[in-house]
């Protein structure tokens, strides 16, 4: 246990041995992670914008005009409680008639009130689910069509295609970009660690001569690499915050009014988690021959 503690602390202490090499590595890691984070920030914001503007769909529901209004209201309540429904605008036949009168410049349609032919209607705006968007929307529409008194649901298939396309595009762009960035960062990190190890080549050779096992040599290198990655990650996040503020000052002005949001805490936590994982893998690849 003492030896492990000794080797772990050696990994941290060794960061101060070849100060210049370590400083250059830290700068390289920080800039690399900053560029990666910057890319993620941009993709994240674009994705958020796409989802908020394009990831939803609206359709109308028409009930039979003979349907009992209390029964229709129950169905409106059910619709409002649905997890997919973002907003619901409902129209009773009387309300539609009033709207029509307003639209006709106050033309009196009061004579229609007793034999109003207009059906109850509703305009539903729903969020397009990320998983199987088309099928999920169609299933939901089918469920509505199955309700009593529903005459028809007017769903524009072009709009559905467009909405699901934006959704899947955002999925197709964000996650592959993220995976690509992580892969790139891992490769560059591994090579950066490898270059730093050249400065320790002599020490490793001597350690081998005196009978040090692999873990005695590798554990401190491993710890050093992870600590360096974490420090670099922290600095990169700081730089990202500064860059985000700077960009907002430029972009969030007329006529653009574009505001970049910072990565949410969950993303930041995930970033550090992935960073540790990438540091572990890339440093292991770099030091496995030592």
């Amino acid at each position: 246990m003492n030896r492990i503690a000794f080797l772990l602390s050696k990994g941290v202490r060794d960061l101060g041995v070849n100060k210049w090499e370590q400083a250059v590595t830290l700068v390289a890691l920080t800039l690399l992670l900053f560029l990666g984070l910057m890319f993620i920030l941009v993709v994240f914001n674009v994705s958020q914008q796409l989802m908020s503007r394009q990831g939803e769909i609206s359709f109308e529901i028409y009930w039979e005009s003979s349907e009992n209004l209390d029964e229709v209201r129950k169905q409106w309540d059910w619709l409002e409680e649905s997890k997919f429904v973002q907003s619901l605008a409902t129209y009773t036949p009387g309300k539609v008639l009033d709207t029509l009168e307003e639209g006709l410049g106050g033309y009196d349609l009061g004579w229609l009130e007793s034999k109003n032919p207009l059906p109850p209607t509703a305009v539903v705006t729903m969020e397009v689910p990320r998983k199987s968007p088309k099928e999920a929307v169609r299933d939901f529409v089918r469920e509505i069509e199955g309700k009593s008194g529903v005459d028809r649901v007017s769903l524009d298939s072009k709009e559905l295609r467009k909405a699901s396309m934006w959704t899947s595009l955002s999925e197709k762009v964000f996650y592959p970009s993220l995976a690509g960035i992580i892969f790139l960062v891992a490769i560059i990190m591994g090579n950066t660690f490898k270059l730093t190890l050249y400065s320790k080549h002599e020490e490793v050779e001597v350690l081998r001569l005196v009978g040090a096992g692999r873990w005695f040599i590798q554990l401190p290198l491993f710890v050093g690499a992870i600590v360096q990655a974490l420090i670099g990650g922290g600095l990169a996040l700081g730089l990202l915050r500064i860059a985000q503020n700077g960009l907002n000052q430029i972009l969030d002005t007329p006529p653009l009014f574009l505001e970049l949001s910072f990565l949410p805490p969950l993303h930041v936590a995930a970033f550090f988690g992935v960073l540790v994982l990438v540091a572990v893998v890339s440093s292991w690849v770099a030091i496995r021959d030592y």
């Binding site: 030896r3 000794f6 041995v17 002599e202 020490e203 050779e205 001597v206 350690l207 081998r208 001569l209 005196v210 009978g211 040090a212 096992g213 692999r214 005695f216």
Partner: protein, 220 residues
Amino acid sequence: MLKLRHVSYSFGTQWVLKNLSFEVEPGEFIFLFGSSGAGKTTLLRLLHGSLSLQRGAASVAGFDLARLNRRMVPRLRRAVSVVFQEFKVLPNKTVRENIALPMLVRGIPPSQIERRTNAICRVLRLDGRMNLPCRRLSGGEQQRVAIARAVVTNPQLLLSDEPTGNLDEELSTRLMEIFKQFNQFGTTIFLATHSRRLIDLVPGARVLVLDEGKLEQECG
């Protein structure tokens, strides 16, 4: 301690060790004498696990070199120490840190490391230099640090490759006295050299003469 039977080694098509067979008993002082290119360094690297055995059979301090895998090499090196002509000390670490390295590797407690380091530095007259980084020491002092590091763990066998190659006559003589001292305490010394003068400094030592990879004669 050391047993070789028909050991040969080649780099590509060139055989640098040819059919070597000899034995070394514990506590012996052996010189491996030969000119440059005779195969001395290759033999020492083989005995220290830096090269793998290609032909023949060899055992070193109880380790069968034919069955030596990567994991066992560090264990062999904890039983067999080595001193090179080019010292191989860490220039930025202090004398104390350099000497402590093999003890740290073996997991020896810090108090014992401190005690042993002080003792070996007194024997090798390094006690005034213990906190200096090795880059500030003379060649002779650096060689003594390398020897201190090699013997501080009481190895069964000490291999040494031209240990006086970078030293003047006076320092070489002093160094041989140190080797003799450790040999008297029970460490088997196996020393490769091309200098007859060194051999004369240790009367009674056994001498193996290596010529173009072949063991030509054995005397002493």
